[in-house]
Symmetry: C2
């Protein structure tokens, strides 16, 4: 009865239904119009995403209105550092994104495919965050790398004629863009954490900032970017029919009229 909007991505998608998250905000926005379906896989890169895409989105089932494709933050992990096992070379990232787009285009010709670039990285916060067991004392993700992958993502969108959200670029246009990247502890529930990094001892960190995931402000930023882009693609509250009569449409003097009696 209701059309779907799929959110396909990594932890920034998986965590998007946390308090103030962009996914939950989308679901709330379209509460009577569309189902927002979460398909976020924490830690995944485009290589792993391609390995599982046929399981996540099997051939059966109706085409969704749209699917957001939001990968790159893990692909951009530096190859010789602690998260190197998540790294995907830049060119392979591009080929993988092209293959993901091709899969969706073949499966659902009518669906809007929306590419979202990885967000920027706050190198200093990333360096300080004790998110791996044996840190080398070097950040395993950098803003420089994130920006390269973001550019590649935009190239894929341009080649495929798809709409994209240049998150990395747009966020950094804000003077206080690093405040978009603080995040709640809840997102990293599956990662082992030790707080033994010597450099941490005398530093007061914002609680659970990791310089990569989104703060509530960052989530709001992404939510607004997504609904604005969807609206340009005719996916908006105005364009979509409501599922069943709204209370404002029901005649108080004869409510059952609205239900065909």
């Amino acid at each position: 009865m209701r059309p779907k909007i799929y959110l396909f991505g990594d932890s920034i998608t998986e965590g998007s239904f946390s308090n103030g998250g962009w996914g939950a905000s989308l679901a709330n926005h379209f509460a009577r119009k569309a189902d927002v379906v979460l398909r976020g896989y924490s830690g995944y890169n485009t290589k792993w995403a391609l390995k599982v895409i046929h399981k996540v989105f099997p051939a059966a089932g109706d085409a969704p209105l749209a699917v957001t494709v939001f990968f790159g933050a893990n692909d951009a992990a530096l190859p010789d550092r602690d998260s190197g096992f998540q790294h995907v070379p830049l060119d392979e990232y591009k080929q993988n994104l092209l293959a993901i787009v091709a899969y969706f285009k073949k499966q659902w010709p009518s669906a809007r495919i929306i590419l979202i670039t990885p967000p920027p990285v706050d190198d200093n916060a990333r360096l300080m965050y004790p998110f791996v067991e044996k840190p080398l004392g070097l950040p395993e993700r950098t803003n420089e790398a994130a920006c390269q992958y973001a550019k590649q993502c935009l190239d894929v969108a341009a080649e495929c004629g798809l709409p994209a959200i240049p998150l990395c670029e747009k966020m950094q246009q804000l003077p206080d863009w690093k405040s978009l990247l603080r995040f709640s502890c809840l997102i990293i529930f599956s990662l082992p954490i030790t707080a033994t990094v010597p450099t941490l001892k005398n530093i007061h960190l914002p609680k659970c900032s990791d310089g990569l995931h989104l703060s509530q402000k960052g989530n709001k930023f992404v939510f607004e970017e997504v609904i604005n882009l969807l609206a340009k693609e005719q996916i908006s509250l105005e364009a979509l029919p409501a599922d069943l009569p709204l209370i404002s449409e029901i005649d108080p003097s004869d409510p059952l009229k609205s239900f065909g009696n």
Copy 2:
């Protein structure tokens, strides 16, 4: 691939994906385990719910893990006041709930059906909130009525051998239970609002309190009640398999092993 949990109810369900909402919190909790699907219809009572249930939940499709049935706040609107058109007599409310339960039992014999009673009402806040166009100067919902409907809901659960959340009763066990009922403006987007009630002029109201819908604290209360009850029914993070390997299960020295290569 993922099982579903349906949320069927009125505005307290429809608004449950707002910031800190109990539905969004459930979706976040089960982010890799189950889809939490919103079927909330603002303003609806059990009579209207019965009229549309076959459209909302058609025969096709797999059985969900569970469905929450959360009606009564509108049925309990007083018949001779401004929201009288939403009123359903107490006994009819019971019969309607029984019919809703019977529909789900027939459709999905394996699904857990969870009844949630309406929450309490803060009569004073309700009286002061200018939520209808021509208020009579009397509250159109009262705590006394809400409690009667809540009791009836529990009777239905007992008769049917179903688990239930006695929200009305449990919330009122907290000394500051009225703080559970403040809510965000966003929920009432579809209702016409005028602020012309004379008695409002010299009163400083909590922003958008309406004495009926849930505050963030109230949403957290409902979320915790629901996950606790689901856990008793073997629907928990521990009992449900994850959709695809978790990052913590992936071997950094051979990640593709987790994906069957």
